[in-house]
């Protein structure tokens, strides 16, 4: 499926989806509440078969967070980027680690560095930082007492 | 002709002539003790250097070449370093067993040395059950390894020791069966008898193919028994860091290290004795002329030559092959080596009964 077909199919799947047009791949912005059901549909619906989640990125926009899921299909080779806007104070989104196993590590990474809470995650712990680490290093307001770059 | 036999006899005669027999025996034991310790040190130095050089050349390297001419003093320097290192004992270790283990291993190695014939008439103790004695005592070293692994209070050591136990217990069988096949052919357990029976040719040539097979099985089994690669599961550095001697340092580690090399020497010496005639020169049947030419080469040279050839073979294995996994190791023994050596023993018995050997 190309970008346009994918867009039309998605419109049948979601209620009034928002698309970002500038990007290279079709980007759909969703509400975090619908993410779990939507993800399952993307994974298993005939024609989508987005079975390969290759990147999970959390972005701190100072006012809110965005979690970006890059999805592709090993069957049809089409791409889909899903973005979910999260609240700055309570960044929570449903985990997809039961749908794409790779998400388990990627979500732990996002939790560790950005502080995004993935509800339902089987093992949401610090991944890179020590368990007693305070703060979320990749957030824009994080102040590192020892910053080699800004020395 | 100056030979080791003459030297030992003259020393024996002089001691017995000067002192009363009891003192003479005591003094002789002392001399033998010093000789064994000296031999240990010498073997350690030579074999470690040999291993390093062999591995280096196989790995397209030069190997140690800085200390002494051509790196010959490298092991001396290493020994000095190890001697000066602190011998750590881990906190949770069973201190008595932990310190006892390396000594046990080295004492066992020393004990097996007793019936080995180094040259014509040069043997510490020509016991009439020599071969049985060797296979009995050599299995004691696993106790030292198990002790070291258990007492270290380290999981890697424990795993290594358990592997070593399973390994030695099973490979003892095929090593023993290979030894028995030669015992069947000679009809004696005494080392000097076994050597004497090879006066008209070594058993590996006289015993047809079954003797060759049991020689190969023996080499494989002793490689496993001495924990050498590809059977070095007890120390398997990529899996268990250093296995049973992970926690040892300084001289205690050096003893393990030394025992490993002395064990290689001993098992190769035994293989040389059983299959390649020990100190017996290469004799072919009744070719008197040929045999006399061969006799000009001293018997001690024959013995060391054969032993070091086998040691080189075992080193060659180590630097070529990957390591087996523990279940494959046991598979190899129980599914391949043991049935083979049993069938082989039957064949050898048939040969011995029918007198088909040369």
């Amino acid at each position: 499926m190309n970008k346009e077909e994918l867009k039309i199919r998605l419109e049948s799947l979601l209620v009034s989806p928002t698309f970002e047009d500038a990007a290279e791949w079709l980007t759909v912005i969703i509400d975090p509440e619908v993410w779990e059901g939507f993800a399952r549909q993307l994974r298993s619906t005939e024609g989508f078969d987005l079975d390969y989640l290759f990147c999970v990125t959390a972005v701190d926009w100072r006012t809110h967070f965005t979690v970006v899921y890059h999805l592709t299909s090993t069957v049809h080779r089409h791409m889909l980027v899903v973005k979910a806007r999260l609240d700055r104070e309570r960044p929570e989104i449903r985990t997809v680690s039961d749908i794409w196993r790779t998400a388990e590590f990627h979500e732990r990474e996002a939790y560790d560095l950005m502080g995004i809470v993935f509800t339902g995650h089987p093992d949401l712990r610090r991944l890179f930082m020590t368990d007693e680490w305070k703060g979320w290093p990749l957030r824009k307001d994080y102040e590192d007492p020892v910053n080699m770059i800004k020395l | 002709m100056l030979s080791i036999e003459n030297i030992t006899h003259s020393i024996d005669a002089w001691l017995n002539g000067t002192f009363n027999p009891t003192v003479a025996v005591l003094l002789e034991s002392l001399i033998v003790g010093f000789c064994v310790i000296g031999l240990f040190a010498l073997l350690g130095l030579i074999l470690v250097l040999m291993e390093r050089k062999v591995s280096a050349y196989m790995q397209i390297r030069l190997g140690p070449n800085r200390v002494g001419p051509g790196g010959t003093l490298q092991t001396v320097a290493d020994t000095l370093k190890l001697a000066m290192k602190e011998g750590l004992t881990p906190d949770g270790a069973d201190k008595f067993l932990f310190n006892l283990a390396p000594f046990l291993v080295i004492v066992v190695a020393m004990m097996i040395l007793a019936p080995v014939a180094f040259a014509k008439g040069t043997q510490i103790w020509d016991i009439n059950i020599g071969v049985l004695y060797i296979s009995a005592v050599s299995s004691l070293s696993v106790i030292g390894i198990l002790m070291a692994g258990w007492a270290s209070n380290n999981k890697y050591s424990l795993l290594g020791a358990m592997r070593s136990g399973a390994q030695i217990v099973s490979y003892e069988l095929s090593a023993g069966l290979s030894i028995i096949s030669i015992v069947v052919l000679t009809g004696s357990l005494r080392i000097s008898d076994i050597i004497a029976s090879q006066e008209d040719g070594w058993w590996i040539f006289k015993g047809h193919i079954p003797a060759v097979i049991s020689f190969i099985i023996f080499i494989i089994a002793v490689t496993a028994e001495t924990n050498r690669a590809p059977f070095d599961l007890a120390e398997a550095e990529s899996e268990l860091t250093a296995g049973f001697h992970t926690e040892y340092s300084g001289m205690k580690f050096a003893l393990f290290f030394l025992a490993e090399y002395v064990n290689i020497f001993i098992v190769c010496a035994i293989a040389a004795t059983l299959f390649l005639g020990g100190w017996m020169p290469l004799h072919i049947g009744h070719w008197a002329g040929f045999n006399r030419v061969m006799d000009y080469v001293p018997s001690s040279l024959w013995f060391t030559g054969k032993t070091f050839f086998l040691i080189f073979l075992i080193m060659w294995f180590r630097w070529t092959f990957p390591r087996l996994r523990i279940d494959q190791l046991l598979n190899l023994e129980w599914k391949y080596l043991l049935p083979m050596s049993m069938v082989n023993l039957l064949l050898i018995t048939l040969i011995a009964i029918k007198g088909w050997h040369f």
């Binding site: 990007a23 290279e24 079975d51 390969y52 989640l53 290759f54 990147c55 990125t57 972005v59 701190d60 970006v68 890059h70 090993t74 080779r77 794409w100 196993r101 790779t102 388990e104 590590f105 990627h106 990474e109 560095l113 610090r126 991944l127 890179f128 930082m129 020590t130 368990d131 290093p137 990749l138 770059i149 800004k150 | 591995s55 196989m58 790995q59 397209i60 390297r61 999981k155 890697y156 795993l159 690669a229 590809p230 070095d232 599961l233 398997a236 550095e237 990529s238 899996e239 268990l240 860091t241 630097w319 070529t320 092959f321 990957p322 390591r323 087996l324 996994r325 523990i326 279940d327 494959q328």
Partner: protein, 371 residues
């Protein structure tokens, strides 16, 4: 994080494999739950070499951040840099001269060869054969010398700049690469004699660490790890960048899904890389090696994602730009990170020795995982 656990409630032995361990090739820490010798669970603990490169890059300009990525997967540093440069070029819409494209691909394939050679030696060492390591380094040394001559460094070359490469090829380059290819072709069969055909090696590899194609995709495995399971995922073939689209080469896949399949995929990839280099080495177009770019690069506001195929799998660079001289957020999708997540799945039920073999075939580079 590190628990002082000797045994679990079920009486299983818990062993800390690493962070200092001969076979984890760096500072990977695996907490292994064992039942005797059999693995019940493997839990990776990461972060011993975490430098937060993503955060660092947020304060580096688009020229500067490329060199940092060499420090991630240091064995295919050139390809990492390539991904970054591609992403910047995508954002700036810089047209790279054809000569630079060819040089980049050539260097990338040489890097892949060097990386696979090191992997081969290190993996043989993991399963107990020490000699192959030195043999592999002899060939790798020849590549490093070529790199040193043209790029100026042996490991972290930083040869890539947005818009091309930093310097033109050294006059000796073509001659030396041809010499190397001849030399290496002669040595490649020794690899097979020494390791591939060896019965001990085969029995250590076959049937170990099975990863089904579905699992490979679900765990996000890429590179030879996924291709060993029969998943076609070579970015060079699927989404060709630079001159890969014009080259004749095969995407190597195997169907076994076990350690031996992954091993064979990498061995075949070496041959494919040689073939790519041979196709290119005499056909490097003349012209500039670098496009004219501004001294200060400013990416337009937007999001840019580029994917390249490193020696370990798919490396992704995701730049979010706010229009400034530094990235607003940068995300590196490193292949080792996803491949590692499948380790637990693959290792369960096997022995400790197999765990080491599986890690060897995953070809983990720890800075790549930790970033």
């Amino acid at each position: 994080m590190i628990q002082e656990v000797g045994t679990t409630e079920q009486g299983d032995l818990v062993v800390n494999l690493g962070p200092q361990h001969p076979s984890t090739h760096g500072v990977l820490h695996l907490v292994v739950t064992l039942n005797g010798e059999t693995i019940k669970k493997v839990e990776p603990h990461l972060g011993y070499i975490h430098r937060s490169i993503e955060k660092m890059c947020e304060s580096l300009s688009y020229r500067q951040f490329i060199y940092v990525t060499s420090r991630m997967d240091y064995l295919s540093s050139h390809i990492n840099n390539h991904g970054c440069a591609l992403c910047v070029e995508k954002g700036m819409q810089i047209e790279v001269p054809p000569r630079a494209k060819a040089i980049r691909v050539l260097m990338g394939e040489l890097t892949r060869l060097a990386s696979h050679q090191l992997w081969w030696g290190a993996m043989a060492m993991d399963i107990g054969a020490l000699t192959p390591f030195f043999h592999a380094f002899r060939e790798r040394e020849a590549i490093n010398d070529i790199m040193e001559e043209t790029c100026g460094a042996r490991l972290t070359m930083n040869y890539m700049v947005p818009g091309g490469v930093m310097a033109d090829l050294h006059p000796n380059f073509q001659k030396r690469v041809k010499e190397f290819i001849n030399f290496f072709r002669g040595k490649l069969h020794e690899y097979d004699e020494l390791v591939t055909g060896n019965i001990i090696f085969k029995s250590r590899m076959e049937g170990i660490g099975y990863l089904s194609p579905e699992d490979a995709v679900s765990y996000g495995c890429t590179g030879p790890t996924a291709r060993g399971s029969g998943v076609s995922c070579d970015i060079r073939k699927l989404y060709p960048y630079e001159v890969y689209g014009e080259l004749q080469f095969e995407e190597v896949t195997a169907t076994g899904g076990d350690c031996f399949a992954r091993y064979m995929v990498r061995m075949q990839e070496m041959r494919q890389s040689i073939s790519i280099i041979e196709q290119l080495i005499d056909n490097i177009p003349e012209g500039q090696f670098q496009a004219k770019t501004k001294a200060v690069l400013k990416l337009p506001k937007g999001e840019f994602y580029s994917r390249v195929e490193t020696a370990r799998g798919e490396f992704g660079v995701y730049i979010i730009s706010e229009g400034g001289t530094t990235p607003y957020r940068i995300k590196f999708r490193s292949p080792g990170f996803s491949n590692l997540s499948a380790l637990d799945h693959m290792a369960r039920g096997h022995k400790i020795g197999d765990l080491v073999a599986i890690m060897g075939t995953l070809d983990l580079v720890i800075p790549d995982i930790d970033r």
